[in-house]
Symmetry: none
Subunit: 238 residues, 2 copies
């Protein structure tokens, strides 16, 4: 981690990419904008010659890419993750523009790793994957045909991150953000307590946890706040 | 030409593209952002199956593409043309950012055709071609590797044009925000419950409510979410 360049702290996570050409083109898109940390979740083909060809002079990004088997593994250690989605979703997180999301991600990346998560070419990201992220990003597009190519979407987001970098004044955050693991443990704790109090019926959960995740995702919880919330949960008799 | 959509008045001109895949991917990039007018100057291969495949659902843009033998022909009828260039040039035009250039082009496109001109994959645009254009645009990039793929550069510029288009139209939020009164009632409810569970000692409140207010303030709570949170508070035995 190089604190001099927050882009080094931004992971590009591709979940289940099917075309190796898109992996290579994404690596090139990243490097042209100054990013280098590529994480692949269960790629269909990797390494692959087609990926190397499309990466052009960004083969080093492919060589250093990390391959994972789950999104949890890919997000481990991050303090903030943004999911890309073209679909409109009910009950979704607040939706950020690429520019707004890039600004927030870059600010956090001055301290700790963050991630941008892209789904596979055919089906995108599942709701289950999206609720693991704290932000949802939608690239403005033609309502009649909004399906950007995967590497093209990576290019747009990396471009916005570069703009955010060039426009940024280095700032210090006063507070330490909670990690992915700490936030997931809070949700598990909360769920257990809600089942204990009878508010949440495990037989009929009615998307309750999803709604609560959506609410708290917007806050980007701090370490101290997670401790505080868990203290409250511990004080509740069940 | 549809005066209701100035993007119809923006030509994407590719000069001497060598890879048909890039022509197809450019067509897709254009259509996802709402552009449709593609002009090819002496393409090496066109039409081509590879272009059709990469265009995905934007084959109509390829079908309607105009093929020319010179940049003069491609720019005929335009009132403004912007050339893309990654290289630094002596004695060049003033250099515009993608965002600034998109704003100017779109404004002109409300009246008359304008063009964005991209060079071929290997050598880009010649100085002779650039001086046919009125503006020079440089996409901010990594100084160590600034060579965006051709279709990726088209994607970035078309994205900026779409932003320029959408920024002129105000939009409404999808969710209803909770009112000041509703939020204050939630805090009072929360405080009572925390006193009831023993977590909050009214003799020594230790800024607990202040910290919780700070946390929830960042979310801009919605009406439904306040109802949900108060439902949870009601379920807690004290």
């Amino acid at each position: 981690m190089n604190p001099e360049n927050p882009l080094d702290n931004v992971r590009i996570v591709l979940s289940h990419p099917s075309h190796p050409g898109n992996i290579g083109a994404s690596a090139r898109a990243m490097k042209t904008m100054g990013l280098s940390s590529l994480v692949l979740v269960s790629p269909r083909f990797f390494p692959d010659r087609e990926a190397d060809v499309l990466a052009s002079k960004a083969v080093d990004v492919l060589t250093q890419a990390r391959v994972c088997t789950s999104l949890d593994e890919a997000l481990s250690g991050t303090v903030l993750a943004a999911a890309l989605s073209a679909r409109r979703r009910e009950l979704s997180h607040a939706v950020y523009s690429p520019s707004k999301a890039a600004g927030i991600l870059l600010q956090q990346a001055q301290q700790k790793p963050v991630a941008l998560v892209f789904g596979g070419e055919t089906s995108g990201l599942s709701n289950e994957q999206i609720i693991k992220c704290q932000m949802l990003v939608r690239i403005p597009a033609n309502p009649d045909y909004s399906a950007l190519n995967l590497a093209a979407a990576v290019q747009v987001m990396c471009y916005e991150l570069r703009l955010a970098l060039e426009n940024s004044v280095p700032r210090e955050s006063e507070f330490e953000a909670a990690s992915f693991e700490e936030i997931e443990m809070f949700y598990r704790h909360l769920e257990n307590v809600l089942v204990g109090t009878g508010f949440l019926n495990p037989e009929q959960p009615k998307r309750l946890m999803e709604r609560l995740r959506r609410l708290f995702s917007r806050t980007r919880l701090e370490k101290d706040e997670v401790d505080l919330l868990r203290g409250i949960l511990n004080s509740i008799r069940q």
